[in-house]
């Protein structure tokens, strides 16, 4: 279990979650910088993510889709607002249309990731903020299944099974 700390501010529609990772800052950065690693943790159980465009330079665009249990695809994107490898990443995130292009009709959120060296490990903080309740409601629709789907034990099994090949 990874120790985590969460601060939620419903009045200002923000949440900051901080995790104590047993890894160096450089290693933790790879969780974001390597799309093949991102794919292993970004999507909720049953909704694996595939990153089709991935470039963490300022102004760059990242595209991904998550494939649901019935094969349906949910497209999402990030725009890199600011980046300072390996310690800071500021992303605008939103939904894409069925072709994966950003959908201007849909709201966007802001996500600031900071990685800080901490007693040989890394503190990873993710601050999410939203313009409005509607934005938050729409952006969280995709993650709604998270709490209901397979238990963490099943994910561990999947990861353990594929570990020797990786």
């Amino acid at each position: 279990m990874i120790a985590t700390h969460v601060v939620k501010d419903p009045g200002h529609l923000t949440m900051t979650i901080t995790a104590e990772l047993d890894a160096t800052v450089d290693r933790a950065w790879q969780l974001w910088a390597d799309p093949r690693q991102l794919e292993q943790w970004w999507g909720p159980p049953g909704y694996p993510a595939t990153f089709t465009t991935h470039d963490l330079t300022a102004g760059a665009h990242v595209s991904y889709f998550m494939t649901g249990p019935d094969g349906e695809q949910h497209h999402g994107w990030w725009k890199v607002q600011a980046v300072d490898p390996p310690t800071r990443l500021e992303l605008q995130d939103g939904f894409g249309d069925s072709d994966g292009r950003p959908n201007p009709e849909m709201p966007t959120g802001l996500m600031v990731v900071t990685l800080t060296e901490n007693e040989g490990g890394t503190l990873m903080a993710i601050e999410s903020s939203f313009e409005s309740l509607e934005t938050m409601e729409k952006l969280l629709e995709m993650g709604q299944e998270e709490g209901m789907l397979e238990a963490i034990g099943q994910i561990e099994g999947i990861l353990a099974a594929r570990a020797p090949a990786s």
Binding site: M1, K8, M15, I152, L159
Partner: protein, 117 residues
Amino acid sequence: MVVGKLRDAQADRVFHALADSTRRDILVRALDGQHSVSALARNYSMSVTAVQKHVAVLERAGLVSKHRHGREQLVRGNADTMHRAVELLEKLEAAWRGRIDRIGDLLTIDRNEGRKP
């Protein structure tokens, strides 16, 4: 984990109301306790009339309500609407806890394979 949806017309008013930082600040104060409009206005460099207008926008959105107390009208936050924001943040927290658990699994695989974490 079902999150109640706001009805469309009401939803539009809620989002408009929350789009302004002064209104968000008024709302946070009104959720902590009831205040008269003139007491609220002392926190901002704007007229009581301007604050009154912000309160009216919040009231139409159902985020605050006014209650008569003697000669004063007191503004009180509507916890139900805010409760929805709390539920959504809880959902976000659950999503991130899941992601962090999966990151933990990835880092464990690193160690089992003898890679330096």
